[in-house]
């Protein structure tokens, strides 16, 4: 059967609830295998108690997000650093 994952694009809404900018266009490096890839290219397992984003190369866990009524738990254990595109200062983005 088809594996139950979608693209990192699916993280756009849930992460945008936490961050002021879009995080799916951010580039990150996988802690397990060193792959550089945008968050949008992660494989997201969204049929479960939370969201689990895995590296498309080594399938290591990069990110986990659980949203309860009272809190969000965000685990970024699998990413070394994120390069987040930002609008030039003073500009307004949509």
């Amino acid at each position: 059967m088809t594996e139950q994952y979608v693209d990192g694009n699916a993280l756009a809404g849930p992460l945008r609830e936490l961050f002021a900018v879009d995080m799916t266009a951010a580039d990150g490096r996988c802690v397990s295998c060193g792959l550089d890839a945008p968050v949008a290219a992660l494989l997201v397992y969204d049929h479960g108690p939370g969201l689990v984003a895995r590296c498309p190369n080594c399938s290591g866990v990069v990110l986990r997000l659980v949203r309860s009524p009272q809190a969000a738990w965000l685990d970024l254990r699998g990413v070394e650093c994120l390069r987040i595109p930002m609008p030039p200062e003073g500009r307004v983005i949509v």
Binding site: G13, R91, I93
Partner: protein, 254 residues
């Protein structure tokens, strides 16, 4: 574009807004386009999506993500919803949802699977089934911006009756210079179609796409298996994986 400027150039916190249904267009027997008017809509880019939240009388809520089908148009947003059998939300939106009724909308979201009218690289769009929705937004945004960027679209659909936007695609190809559209039929081809129905192949992408040395940006959208197959084909044809942008629908609960 945006109205609510925040110091530092950041957009305001993502909030649920009320959208009201103002127009319905049937696309296929099981899919329809919903045009919502969302007060305070900040604008969006082709390829972005929204979260839609429905609340029942007793407070029960369900939300789903939908790609936007059209480029920015004031406070109007369009999405095309395919009815998923036994789904919880899509049967309501396709069959029951009425003009004037409210839903909550949050977005736009997604900054990767987008096309901007300022982009200059040639574009290949590959759509599987309802995966055509965000790609149609790009085709329409190209026209709205009078862009000359060469676009090629490959549409895979089960049968002619299942193809979204069929009439408009014919008009676009006729009127929009630099746009080509090719079709792949997986279950039932139209009369006079050369060859039997079949799945998309290397030959389709090779013939109707761009050579990799033109460094096109490739957008692939559809069910997970379709996107997987097309992405593999593109890599095998020499396209840089970083220029292949994918949007998998996955097996959603509808």
């Amino acid at each position: 574009m945006a109205r609510a400027a925040v110091p530092g150039g950041l957009s305001p916190r993502l909030a649920w807004r009320v959208g009201r249904l103002v127009e319905i267009r049937d696309e296929t027997p099981t899919a329809r386009t919903l045009v919502l008017e969302v007060a305070g809509w900040p604008g969006h880019l082709a390829g972005q999506h929204v979260d839609v939240r429905l609340t029942a009388q007793d407070g029960y809520q369900a939300s789903r993500s939908y790609s936007l089908a059209a480029p920015q148009d004031g406070e109007r947003v369009e999405m095309t919803v395919q009815r998923v059998p036994d789904g919880e939300v899509s049967p309501y939106l396709v069959q029951t949802y009425r003009i004037g009724d409210p839903v909550e909308v949050r977005g736009p979201v997604g900054g990767w699977f987008v096309w901007r009218p300022t982009d200059t690289a040639p574009v290949l769009l590959v759509a599987g089934g309802s995966g055509i929705v965000p790609l149609m937004a790009m085709v329409r945004a190209r026209r709205a911006a009078c862009s000359r960027v060469p676009f090629r679209l490959i549409c895979s659909a089960r049968a002619p009756d299942d193809l979204f936007y069929a009439d408009e695609l014919r008009r676009r190809v006729r009127d929009d210079a630099g746009l080509d559209v090719a079709y792949v039929w997986t279950r039932q081809a139209p009369p006079q179609w050369p060859g039997p129905p079949r799945r998309i192949s290397v030959a389709d992408v090779n013939t109707h796409g761009w050579p990799s040395d033109l460094a096109p940006v490739c957008y692939v959208c559809g069910p997970t298996g379709f996107v997987e197959a097309v992405a593999d084909i593109l890599v095998a044809l020499g396209h840089d994986p970083r220029r292949i942008r994918t949007e998998r629908f996955g097996p959603t609960g509808g």
